[in-house]
Structure formats: structure tokens, C-alpha cells
Subunit: 653 residues, 2 copies
């Protein structure tokens, strides 16, 4: 290590956050969101140190800067807001601030009664340097103040120069116009900024083949069109269909996932590809490409985007199998390897071999498929089991799509180990399914939400909470208890700004499990259902109400303004959403015990609201319409399973 | 992001530990220490993944490898031992193990009763690849086994090939000879390996000028020589002197740091430089360079190294001030800036201006000084206030010295904010002073030691515990209570493998403070003391005993084998040192209440010792010589302030 060529900075930036895996991955935001930056900054000795954030949009040529403020023990905090989609860059800059340091020492000596003529003179070159930085035409006040300060010193006017040099005004000027001499910069970090829907969305899932109003007829995209007003009225803005491609006929699965199907059984939509085409085709019984595009357009009118399922796997009769057998694993007997998780076999599915010799051909073809659908107007993809395809594949595919279409949202359907789910999120997935289905108790929910909203995960892993999916009929809902259905819906929709339901099944309380499994009996995955879409349940009404509240109040449009509140019952969960900036304050109290009434004393987070403890609060319950006044720090709540939650809008009484 | 040119690995290494600030800094070890490596490793899908550590000494041309074993949730653990001084490199390598994956699937299918002839054939190319990797001459058993396995498959001998392919033997062979196809590697990290003394040392500090046996005479190096047998007998292996250079005569400080000194007052040794020379000279009253070198040599015979104080600052009459005024801050009136911490002034000290225009000249001169003393035989430097000099300076200086002299130990005397102390340690300081002086209660000690021994700090920050120094007469010892002196010594010497005392002051219980400060009244920093070195106190006896125990048992030669043990009294601190590997087990119990007897029930850490709970234990107290048998999980202890600790050697009864 030879002596550096340039005089090294004395300032050190030892930590910058957020920074995911040493800056290897970008963090994520949506337009208008804040980036809170932390930095550990210090220098040797006792000199005054200054630091700032530098940030810019990829289209900017110049950096903007934002203050970093010293808290304690060399911890600095600051923030900035991202206003445009696509990449931002940020870094931290720090320096020993010679001018501020000189002023700080001068003030201490002056207060000590020392004669400081020499010190005043010492400051002259520092002040003259600062003077050069002030744009006289824009900030004449600062310029004039500093100019006369310099003149007082030059004139050896002790009293006037002492007064000016120790003034607050000078401090403000020196802070505003730092010379940044010998500054040091941190590495650069990146932010990917999405459109707002990436951070706030309500998903409704149904099988388009079950959309027909006539029992026994296969549903079509036209039938789906007719349901759009209903979905819009319920307040959903994403409509997600299982795959709409031709369904394989070879080894087609029957009712309840049986290995063979009877003639006429429709098969699983995830077994993609048949003589009617593959991933870029449409299942003939649903309609034509034109029908699908009409549906996309019609949905748009209702403020609804239709999410496409991206399931990169093939039925044995998928055209790829004949055209590109080299894209699959060929066994020693010449057959193509079907999917398996030994000893289990899935003969209706051929997985791609992403490592095959022609991997580049395969990857490019799959990218072509995604681009094709983007060109048809698809804006959201729900990606099926991304964790069974190489991570590098997704990183490449998503970044390729985002190059030209930064609006596209990818939801990762990976229900697997934490690090794998996180890796997918880091690589570019916009939103992710979560463990919400298996977090039921107060302790579980508190721990999980704390992890999601307060650790590094908040920077890259955007949760999307689903109380059920066609694959998951969770233990907790298998009893069919209506309170539990309401509780789980309420939790999903108020804890997470992104949430979704496998809709009709949830609304109508379908709950019978395949014995011993977290799956539905007679799952819609293998058969066509018929729904009476005109029917409304208490769940339907609740969903409409909650979605309305979510749309009206900003507090529910982010997942990251959550604070849990003390309440002295292990079955009562209380949480606050809101902040001083928006001025919105909501308190939710949920009775997690679906069998018994529960009572307790709740403490609203006065500190978060910026309201003194004990201020009288008006509590308007937007669920029941009742209003209470709370007079104390701890306040009584009682919840019966019949309406097992409060959603309070808080205002000063 | 265009398609990568090479087929990307499906394996992902997302975390490697230890890695300090993204690998920006090296970790530290001493010869013979273990490096425990953690990695987060996974791949897409369900395939079997394998991973290993690669490591090598800077002089090695080839990497060695060490196993990484999967624990749970993609967490992998492994370790290796460093055996030579200077830099090591390490990294992690991971891959999808196609052969192991094939065998694992085969076994599951076979156990399920499936006919697996095709699967056996599928394995043939994998096994043939492995066969090529086995050195037949060295490992003929593996080679022969695999060779015949291949032949069974080729001969379609179903039963024999099935037996061989599903065997444990084959698994062991596949693990031992992985093809590592499509592997991925983490970034490289570095370790600096020191000689053993960096990790285990006992320091004794005294002022050589107070070494004279005759009261009123200035002590000399020759007087110090006479004290070596005593220091060695007490069990210390580092003798540290405050600066031995000529002491400034201009603005010399008097008794109790008074601004002016009376004629004959010796001044502070930290005000370096006078007409007799500067940092490369010796204070004439101590002796000559020859005397100093003789002392170093003599000390070596006693197993003692003499640490030099590196205080990079100048008295006003230091030769540099005349020869190189450009190395200091020149004020606007032409005077040289003395040290200050406004409004406080230190007119006897001129700090260097490490940012002066001739900073390279200054830095090179200071490096020359250190090199000069290294050439005279100095092997250990205690660096005075390194945090008031630029971090980059130390990084450069230490690495320059270590290039040619990796034996040199630097102790950082920075009592300041945590991040600054850590930064200095990261930049290369071998050992660091700590907050030990201000950690007195059970909670404080437990928290601090947990931080030092279980967080990232253990990788780079080697604590050196000092109960007192010439600068610190801690509040806790100002009462002069003998029990507290014993307790603090015992804690320092048994909690930290590196410890030291400002010797005679501690042995003889000097404790009177300068009023209102954590400093000594009539501090030896400003005057010459006379000691009756023949005198021994209870402290002297305790020190000798503890140092003897530390030298005898490996358990006390590392700081990182510490476990706190439950004991139900807030003034009793119980901790274990030892491990299964050495087979040594020590339990310390300390009564932190120096005024009252305390009793409680202690639980030895049976799990750490690898001994079933409830095993009868023989507890030999090496302090009192008493022996007890403990029959239970929790065992009774009672400690009186008179002998306020146990040091138990544990063995099975």
C-alpha cells in the first residue's frame, strides 16, 4: 500500500443504508415514496463533519442533494422522495467542514471570554472561499452578509467582526454553501421506481372458464366482460386469471388431481399446450385473441388490469415438445423427463431444462412470449413457481422487459424458504406472495409484519397478502367459520396495501378440504364451477366496504406506516396506520378469537400521531358507523365474533 | 442486461460471513485459530446443492478446501484453521450437484418400489465423469467401487447396480469427488494472521523514571533492568513504558497538569521533543540508546517484550518545529497552532497537520520513525490517541510496517465513540483499549462481553482490558476498596485474554482522584514517583496467581470461548471458559457487590461441555484451593467480599 497520490479525505463513510447485499441489488420504491437514508459518518479528532445524500434519476445529468443530520454516535439520517419511474442512483458524500469547524471553535472561545482577534483573522480565507460559492443574483442576502463580515475582519473591526462571525446567520450561510473540500463519497446504490399500483393493489382471482351464467357451459372472455362491473363495484383493480392457454390433452389430470381424466374433463390450466398451441395461444373454449384484447380494453374502462399467469412448463402435447425436444431433459431411454419430486410424479407436466445446450434459444423464446403478451396489452404477470427456474433467468427476463416497459408488474408465486423468496424479490419481482396464510396468532402476525416492515426486507420485498388461493385452502379456514373468513380478509386488506383473494370461493365461504391437505375438495383447478354471481354474502359486503376505505385513505395505500399498539389480551391485535405527514390516523383492533368475545385496554400511539398522551380522541368506527370518545391513555374495547374488528378513524375530540 | 455469454450457475451464494463491510476490511486471527464460515447457499428447484470453503495462505499457489454443511433454511456452516502469519484468502464455492441429486432421487424412487432401470442408466454419464476424478493410485478403494458400479450398469445387472447406486459408499465417493460443474464462487475475503501474542498477552505499565531504588533519583533503563525479574515473576509478558523521548521544556506542565512548571519538575513524557531530540531520540536522564537496546535484550531473556508509546505530537521545542514548521498549522499571526479542544488549550503540545501541503513528507517521516524503532528491536507499539490522526494514515503506516515485519503489534489507545474505535481496528490495529473501565454491573458486563465476543466485532476488534491507566482512575476504584481492586483485576484477566494494568499504582491500591475527575491526584504523568518494589500486597499475590493460571490453561488464552451462566443474584456474575476440543472447563463466579456477601444457584453450561445435565462435577477452586462436588443442575455458591470470586476447574466427579 504505497502513499496515495491524492491527499486522502479525513472523513469516513463506514455504513450506508439502505444497501442490499453491499449494493449488489437495487431497492424498490413507487412514485412519491420516500427513501430514508442512514449513514455512519465520522472523522478523526474533534472537527465538525458534514454529510449529504446525492441522488438522481437515470435521466438526470446532475445530482440533487438532501441534508443528512447527525443524531448521536456518528449516526446520520436524511431522506428524499422519488418522483419518476425507472432507476434512481444515490450515494453519500461527507467532509470535514473547515469553515463550520472554525466558527464552532470561535464561538466556544468567545463564550469563554478569550480575545479572538487571531482566530477571526484565521477565518478570513475560509469565508472568502465560501463567498465565491454564493450566487449573488439569487441569494443577495447571504452574499451581502458574508461580504460585510469579510470586510469587518479586513478592517480589524473587532466587535463587528466578532458579532458577525459568531452569528446564527453565518452558520446558516456556511451550512448552505459548503466548500466540500477533501470530501469523500460512498459507493453508488440504485433504486427501481415502479408505478403506484406496484405498491397498492387489490386482486380478485377467478377461473374464466367458470364465468358462464349458464350452468354446464364453458365460460368465455365475453362472460368475463359481463362480470367486470361486479368486480369494479367490489373495489378490485386487478383481475387475475389462471393460465388462459390451450390445456394439454395427453396425461390430462381429472377431478381432484386424479392421474387419469374422464372424457370431457377440462384439465388443469397449468398444464399448458396442446394441438391448439402453446404459451402464445389462447384456449379455444375461452375465445379468441381478439376477445381477450377486448376484455383487456373493457377492463381498463373499469379501472381494472387483467393479470396473466406465467407458468413456464409444458403439457406433453405442447408444440415445443415436438419442435424443441432439446429444451427438455431427455432420459437415457430417449423419453422426455416429466416433472417429479421423487417419489412423486407429475406426468402431465414437462419442465423446461433451463440448462440445456440450447439454453440461449430457450431463454430467448420465453422472453419472446412475455414480450408478445406485453404487446397485446398485458401489464401484470403473476409468475407461477418462479423458484423452480434459475434465478439468473428471472433477473435477465425482468430487466429485459423493464428496459422498454417499466410499467410491467411481476408477482412472484414462490411459497418456499425465506432466502429463496427474498432472492427472487431482489432480482426484480415487483410483488411477492407471503407466509400470511400461516400467520394466525397475535404473536405470529406481530413478528411477521415487524419483519416485513422494519427490516431490510421492506426495501425490496413487497408483500401481497392472500387469505386463500386455488392451491391453498388454509387450515384456519377449513372450519368454514364466517368470523374467521372476515378476520382473515380484514387482516390481509388492512395490514398489506397489496392483497388478493381467490374470489368467489372466498365470498361464498367454500372451505371443504381435500382430506388431510391444505387444498380444496373438488378443486376448481380440475373442473368447471358454476357461480351465482348475483349472490352477495356478508363477506361480499365487507370486501366492498374495506376496498372503499382503502381507496379513500392514503393510510391503507402503503404497507410501511404500520405500528402495533399495546392491548392486554392475547387474542386482540391492535395496530395503527397513518402518519403526521398525511394527518390521517387509523386504529384497527381485531379479535383473533373467532369463538369468544374479548375485551382489553388499548393504547393508541400518541407519539406517532404527534398528539400529547391523554388528548381526548374521537373514534369513528368505519365498520359499524359507531363513534366513541376516548379520554385516557388506555381505552376499553370489546369485540364479539359477530363483528370481530374495529376500524377507527381517529381525530381530536 | 444481455444474455450472459456463459451458462450461468443455478447455485446462488447470497451471504458469506465473516465479511467486514462487504469485504472491504480483513478479519483477524492468530496462528492456530479457527475461522468459522457461514454461507447462505441455495439453488432453484429441489436439486441437491453442495458448497465448500476455499482458502489459502498468500504464499500458497493452490486453494485448500473445507466442507460446508447444510443446517436448515439454506444456512451452511464450516471452518478451517490458519497456521501461518500474514494474509490468508477465503471464498465460498457452490454448485448443483448433479450426481448426488441423481442418487438422492434414485433412492427415493427405489424405496417407493418403482422400477428404476432407466434411472440407473441415466446415472451412467455422471458416474463416468466422477470416475475420471479419482486418483486410482491413492484411493483405489473408491476407484474400484465406482468402476464396478459403472460395469454393473453397463451389463444391465439390475440388482447389483441398484445396490451399488443406492449405497452409502457411493454417496461418500460422490461427496469426495464432486465434478463441481457450473459452480459459482463468492467474492474473496482476507484474513490477517498475527503471532500468538496478538491474542494472548499480559501488560504491565510503569514510568521508567520512577524505577530508581533511591528516592529522589531519576530512574533509568538500568534501574528498569533490575525490575525485570519481578515483572517476570508476576507473570507479565509485555512491559509498557510511557514515551521515553526527550521531554519538552517550553510550556512544560507542572504537578497536577498545572500550566506552568517549577524548575526541576520533570514534565509529561507525552510532550515530546526538546533540544535533546525528538521522536527518534531518548530522554537523556533515562540513559542511552545502547541502554535501551540492552534493556530490550535483557527483557527478552525473561520472556518480556517492551512496548513503545507512539505519541505523534510535539512539544514546542521539538526539532521538527524549527526544521519543518510546514508540518504544523500556522495561524494568521504566524504562530503555530497548539492543541486545543475549545475553549481548552494545551500550549505544551503542537499537533501535526496531517493535511498540510507537505503531508507526504510528514507521513513518510513518521513511518521512518516507526521503522527506526523496529530496527532497534521494538516489537510492540502502544499508539497514543490514534483517533486524532487520519484513519488513512494509520491504514497506510501499519500496512507498510507489516509488509516487512508482520510480528509488530499495534495497540490502539482510542477511548472514543464506538464506530471510531472499530474503524481503527478494521484498518489494522492489532489490539484495542475498550470501555471495560466503565462496565461494572452484571448487566453492563454481560452486554459488553456479548457484543465483543459474539458480533462481527470478534472478527476484527481484539479487546485489551485495563482496569486503570495513568489517564484513567475510574470512579469505581476511587474508594480504594481492596475487594473492588481484586474484582476488577480478576474480571479483566479472566474475561479478556489480553489485559493490562498501570502496575504499581494498581498493586499498591493508589486511588485518590483529582477532585471531580477520573484522574489520579498528583498524577505520575507530571512527577517522579518512588516505589518500594519489594513490597507485595494481596493484589500482588492475586496477580501472580491469575497470570500463572492464564499461562497454564488454554481456556484463558482466547477471549472467544466465553459463555455466561445463569445465576439468580443480580450481583453474582458467572461465566464459563473452555470447550470440548481442549477438554478444559472453567467456571468463574464473581461477587460484584464489594460490600456484602451474596448467594445464588449457578447452572454450569453442561451443553457447552458436552456433559449430560446433572452429571456430578468436581469443582476445584484455584483461588482458595478448596474442592466441592456439585450434584445438581443448579448449585449453591456464596461469596464474601474478602475473596469475592471462584475460579473453578471443572471435571467429572
Amino acid at each position: 500500500m504505497s502513499l496515495p497520490a491524492k491527499r486522502p479525505s479525513r472523513a469516513v463513510i463506514s455504513i450506508v443504508k439502505p444497501s442490499i447485499d453491499c449494493g449488489q441489488y437495487f431497492i424498490k420504491r413507487v412514485i412519491g415514496e420516500k427513501v430514508d437514508v442512514y449513514a455512519a459518518v465520522f472523522a478523526d479528532g474533534h472537527d465538525v463533519v458534514a454529510a449529504e445524500i446525492l441522488y438522481k434519476h437515470e435521466s438526470d445529468t446532475q445530482w440533487s442533494n438532501a441534508r443528512l443530520n447527525l443524531s448521536v454516535n456518528d449516526d446520520w439520517y436524511g431522506s428524499f422522495v422519488v418522483e419518476k419511474q425507472r432507476f434512481y442512483h444515490y450515494k453519500v458524500r461527507a467532509w470535514v467542514d473547515y469553515a463550520l469547524n472554525w466558527q464552532s471553535g470561535l464561538i466556544k472561545k468567545a463564550l469563554d471570554g478569550q480575545y479572538v482577534q487571531v482566530e477571526l483573522n484565521d477565518g478570513l480565507p475560509l469565508l472568502e472561499e465560501t463567498l465565491k460559492l454564493i450566487p449573488k443574483s439569487i441569494d443577495s442576502a447571504s452574499y451581502d452578509f458574508l461580504k460585510s463580515t469579510v470586510e469587518y475582519i479586513k478592517a480589524s473591526d473587532y466587535l463587528k467582526s466578532l458579532e458577525a462571525c459568531t452569528s446564527k446567520e453565518l452558520k446558516t450561510i456556511l451550512e448552505k454553501y459548503p466548500t466540500r473540500k477533501n470530501s469523500v463519497e460512498s459507493p453508488e446504490y440504485k433504486i427501481w421506481v415502479d408505478r403506484p399500483k406496484a405498491g397498492f393493489s387489490a386482486w380478485y382471482e377467478f377461473f374464466p372458464r367458470s364465468a358462464s351464467p349458464e350452468k354446464g357451459r364453458h365460460g368465455t372472455f365475453k362472460d368475463c366482460e359481463a362480470l367486470l362491473p361486479r368486480i369494479a363495484d367490489l373495489g378490485f383493480d386487478v383481475l387475475y386469471f389462471p393460465p388462459i392457454h390451450p390445456i394439454g390433452e395427453i396425461n390430462r389430470k381429472g377431478k381432484n388431481n386424479s392421474v387419469t381424466s374422464k372424457p370431457g374433463e377440462p384439465g388443469s390450466p397449468w398444464a399448458i399446450g396442446s394441438r391448439f398451441g402453446g404459451h402464445d395461444a389462447i384456449h379455444p373454449e375461452l375465445g379468441t385473441l381478439e376477445d381477450y384484447k377486448n376484455l383487456l380494453a373493457k377492463a381498463k374502462e373499469y379501472g381494472i388490469e387483467i393479470a396473466m399467469d406465467l407458468a413456464f412448463q409444458c403439457a406433453p402435447d405442447h408444440p415445443y415438445v415436438k419442435e424443441h425436444p432439446e429444451w427438455f431433459v431427455i432420459k437415457s431411454d430417449g423419453s422426455i423427463q416429466y416433472a417429479e419430486n421423487p417419489p412423486k410424479k407429475y406426468q402431465d407436466i414437462y419442465p423446461f431444462n433451463f440448462e440445456c445446450d440450447d439454453w440461449q434459444g430457450l431463454w430467448n423464446e420465453l422472453l419472446r412470449v412475455v414480450k408478445y403478451w406485453v404487446e397485446q396489452g398485458v401489464t401484470i404477470f403473476r409468475v407461477d413457481n418462479p423458484h423452480t427456474k434459475p434465478f439468473k433467468f428471472w433477473q435477465w427476463l425482468i430487466s429485459e422487459i423493464h428496459k422498454t416497459h417499466s410499467d410491467i408488474i411481476f408477482l412472484s408465486e414462490a411459497f418456499t424458504r425465506p432466502k429463496i423468496m427474498h432472492e427472487l424479490a431482489k432480482l426484480g419481482f415487483t410483488q411477492s406472495y407471503t407466509y400470511f396464510c400461516w400467520r394466525n396468532t397475535k404473536a405470529e402476525l406481530t413478528e411477521y409484519l415487524t419483519e416485513l416492515t422494519t427490516t431490510d426486507q421492506r426495501e425490496f420485498f413487497r408483500p401481497n397478502f392472500w387469505p386463500n388461493t386455488p392451491d391453498i385452502n388454509p387450515w384456519s379456514l377449513q372450519g368454514g367459520n364466517e368470523s374467521l373468513f372476515m378476520i382473515r380478509l380484514f387482516l390481509a386488506a388492512t395490514l398489506s396495501s397489496n392483497y388478493g383473494i381467490y374470489g368467489p370461493v372466498y365470498e361464498y365461504g367454500i372451505h371443504e378440504p381435500y382430506p388431510g391437505k391444505e387444498e380444496y375438495l373438488n378443486s376448481e383447478k380440475y373442473e368447471i364451477y358454476h357461480w351465482d354471481w348475483t349472490r352477495e354474502t356478508r363477506l361480499t359486503v365487507l370486501i366492498r366496504l374495506i376496498n372503499q376505505i382503502r381507496k379513500t385513505y392514503k393510510s391503507f395505500q402503503t404497507t410501511y406506516n404500520l405500528t402495533f399498539c399495546p392491548v392486554n389480551d392475547d387474542h386482540l391485535l391492535a395496530y395503527y396506520k397513518g402518519d403526521i405527514e398525511t394527518g390521517e390516523h387509523f386504529l384497527m383492533v381485531v379479535n383473533l378469537d373467532h369463538l369468544n368475545s374479548r375485551q382489553g385496554m388499548v393504547r393508541p400511539p400518541f407519539e406517532k400521531m404527534g398528539i400529547p398522551v391523554g388528548t381526548h380522541l374521537l373514534m369513528q368506527d368505519y365498520i359499524t358507523g359507531n363513534t366513541w370518545t376516548w379520554y385516557s391513555e388506555y381505552n376499553y374495547v370489546a369485540l364479539h365474533p359477530n363483528v370481530p374488528f374495529h376500524l377507527f378513524k381517529i381525530s381530536k375530540a
